[in-house]
Symmetry: C2
């Protein structure tokens, strides 16, 4: 079927994009993108599976060399998606799913516009508030802040190709699988090689 696809799964925090991506990578023949970070490993985290753990020097060197599809500094730790790892997989025909917040997705869109951009919506704002609250240990102010942030983020939806409402996990996952199947059937420039092969045969 030719080259692999980069599926960027994004949305406000609390929409459930992480759960969907894990489900997707487990069910379908899709690889999860692994980030590089300067954060210290937590118990149970595996090098090359959870993250690639690197020094700040190594990270900044990678960044300097334009080696990231996107990167961010979160509370003093760097996180980034290594470009080469993703592109190598796509070249080999593997589909890759990348879970990322909206700012990160916009960076990926800039660096790799061929990606398939999927926005995950919570089934309702009431449900989103419940999910944000349900994480516990946060103050009312912090919850309101996250909630308003989510509202602002939803306005970015028009920058995306697809929008999937995460009501039932199975249904949302199946919908993204359908999107991947459909995108593999898109008429793109590669089609001309295919036509040439047909004509030669004919």
């Amino acid at each position: 079927m030719g080259k692999g696809l980069l599926i960027v799964v994004s949305g406000p925090s609390g929409a459930g994009k992480g759960t969907i991506c894990k489900e997707l990578a487990g069910k379908a023949d899709i690889d999860l993108s692994v980030s590089m970070t300067t954060r210290k490993p937590r118990p149970g985290e595996e090098e090359g599976k959870s993250y690639y753990f690197v020094t700040e020097e190594a990270f900044l060197d990678h960044k300097e060399k334009n080696g990231f599809l996107e990167w961010a500094n979160v509370y003093g730790n760097f996180y980034g998606t290594p470009k080469k790892l993703v592109l190598d997989k796509l070249e080999k025909g593997r589909d890759v799913v990348l879970e990322i917040d909206i700012q990160g997705a916009m960076q990926v869109k800039e660096n790799f516009p061929k990606g398939i951009f999927v926005f995950i919506l919570p089934p309702s704002m009431a449900e989103l508030r419940k999910r944000i609250t349900g994480r516990g240990s946060e103050t009312e102010d912090a919850i309101n802040l996250r909630f308003n942030e989510a509202l602002r983020e939803i306005a970015y939806i028009h920058k995306y190709d697809y929008c999937v409402v995460n009501g039932e996990l199975d249904e949302a996952t199946a919908r993204i699988q359908a999107i991947v199947t459909a995108e593999h059937s898109r008429v793109t420039e590669d089609i001309y090689d295919m036509i040439a092969a047909y004509k030669k045969e004919g």
Copy 2:
């Protein structure tokens, strides 16, 4: 999920588009578009199911009033896709599949660019020749004519959104179902109503 989609399934004769459409209408919640024709009904054909059988006068009147998504004169008989019937179904949220040759598909694209245009390819040119030959009762010249016509038609593929190879009927049908699911998840202008509803709720 909003309005229905018009899925235009097209391709060279012998690609198997008719079989796919019947399979699709049987499996998925999709209606087959019914054409209007001036041809006389054949035994077993049902009014409103196989075709809408009309007089030439009625057909030309309909055509005069711009009432077709596409129409053609084939060996002295008129055939056309009534616009209102299709649009009414879409408005009610029903998906409609329209099986049509390439010339017809290009007319539909002109009149209804929002349609989803799917090109059906045979698995190989050898298989296409076999299918054309397999219909029997045709001379070598007629077969060659159809075969070369198919080659010319394949060049229209770049006007389509999707391309599905009809190797296994089940797989090709599932692929079109995935395309329909994906297209229902597309971010379109309707999304703004959805966002407005979210914000109101928030």
